[in-house]
């Protein structure tokens, strides 16, 4: 099937630090890709380049074959197609749960209030947050916030949803609920790229695991290949640290 996103020769540096070095990476519809790797290896930066929160220095990002780094591309329109879920939730603190899920629909996609509300209710129900419509983000637990953040992203009907360590800031007892929601989405065929340290999730849910090391993709393959039979010594070393702990 045709790739949704294809990344070629992507480079990014901050000052003198080479963070991404010649990344080749593609995403086909329905894939659930887990990005793993040590801290500082460039996972977040890669994800942020995909929705242009960071501007790459070089390379191509082809979306349905069209390079979004070239010419007068409508970045805002593109971003609605690529949702993002952040480690720190980033709910809009001045809006209640329902409004968080509606504002993008009404102001960016220009949907009517009724339509936006209906969609918001549908996805809030899906993530188990329908009883909290009028709560403000400050009143929610971390796990609840993250589930609302996922609903907010889903309301935009994205083709791809990016997750940057969605459970890393959560209390251990909150992690399960959020992972459950993500598993459901994966099962329903949503295309996802997930930066995670949850190896259990990666093993169980992903269709492909990508191991990043020092700004390059050191190894990628099916979860079985990566977890049971890693080829690269760096991958082996990285994974052994997780198995010990």
């Amino acid at each position: 099937m045709e790739n949704i996103i294809e990344i070629r020769g992507l480079k990014k540096h901050f000052d003198k630090l080479e963070v991404l070095n010649d990344i080749q990476f593609s995403v086909a519809p329905g894939e659930v890709i887990c990005l793993i790797g040590a801290s500082g290896s460039g996972k977040s930066t890669l994800l942020r380049c995909v929705n242009l929160l960071e501007t790459p220095d070089a390379g191509e990002i082809l979306v349905h074959g069209q390079n979004i780094l070239q010419g007068r591309m409508d970045v805002n329109q593109y971003r609605t197609k690529v949702g993002m879920v952040f480690q720190s939730f980033n709910l809009f603190a001045n809006m209640d749960v329902l409004k968080n899920c509606m504002v993008g629909q009404t102001h960016v996609l220009h949907r009517s209030k009724e339509e936006a509300r209906e969609k918001a209710l549908y996805f809030l129900q899906k993530v188990g947050m329908k009883d909290f419509l009028l709560a403000s983000p400050a009143q929610l637990s971390g796990g609840q916030k993250q589930r609302v953040a996922i609903a907010r992203a889903l309301c935009m009907d994205p083709e791809v949803l990016l997750f940057d360590e969605p459970t890393s800031a959560l209390d251990p007892e909150m992690v399960g609920g959020v992972l459950e929601v993500m598993k459901d989405l994966a099962r329903e065929g949503l295309t996802m790229i997930v930066v995670t340290h949850e190896m259990g999730f990666a093993r169980e849910v992903s269709t492909r695991v990508v191991f990043m090391d020092k700004g390059v993709i050191a190894e990628e393959g099916s979860p079985e290949e990566i977890f049971q039979n890693p080829q690269n010594p760096r991958t082996r070393e990285f994974l052994s640290r997780y198995i010990q702990s």
């Binding site: 971003r79 993002m84 001045n94």
Partner: protein, 248 residues
Amino acid sequence: MAAFVEKVLEIAQRYWPLFWAGTKVTLLISLTGTIIGLAIGLLVGSVRAVKVEPRDGLGTRVVKQLIHALTSIYIEVFRGTPMIVQSVFLYYLLKPVFNWKPTVAGIFIVSVNTGAYMAEIIRAGIQSVDQGQTEAARSIGMTPMQTMFLVVLPQAIKNSFPAIGNEFVVNIKDSSVLSAISVTDLYFQSIGVAGSIFLFTQTMTVTASIYLVLTFTTTRILGLIEKRMGRPRSSFPASQTVPGNPTF
């Protein structure tokens, strides 16, 4: 002592129409000046928060930097010089153009002066809103403008409400310098009364009391509004998230 108090009360009673007229002018100028100043501050503060982005073309870059330089000059000049000097300077500078009454000039001067302070207050308020929300807004496709008006500014205003209210209190007191251009505010009226009866201390006791009532009441009202704004709309159990260790 008793004689002093008696005199003060007598002055208040005898000249209250003048004190009252002055009080009205003081309130008019400080309230309008603060509101217009806030509007200026919102505009200037939010354009100053717009940063040059890597994707900006040369034209956009130049415009952004020019706006930044001009607003910096405005803020520095109006915060770095006394309002009494600004008022005399601007009143006479612009008199041939507008042929304005002192009261109108007074509102203008307080507005522009307050705007410079408000711009910095709003900018600080904008910076107090965490960057993550801006990124989240951009990630669902909001433009920088939408992000500013729908997400950042409402929170910036709320966060800086105490500082904004404080500007109003400051203006109630500091509008007294406008007597330099004959604005008939509370201080101007008081000096008139005092000069005509040669009882400065006693008259200023009345004046100070009125200012005190104004600032005290205003502070209280602002405090109440602040409390109201901070209150959550409905009651859901609050719970705190402790950044936990990732589980493997």
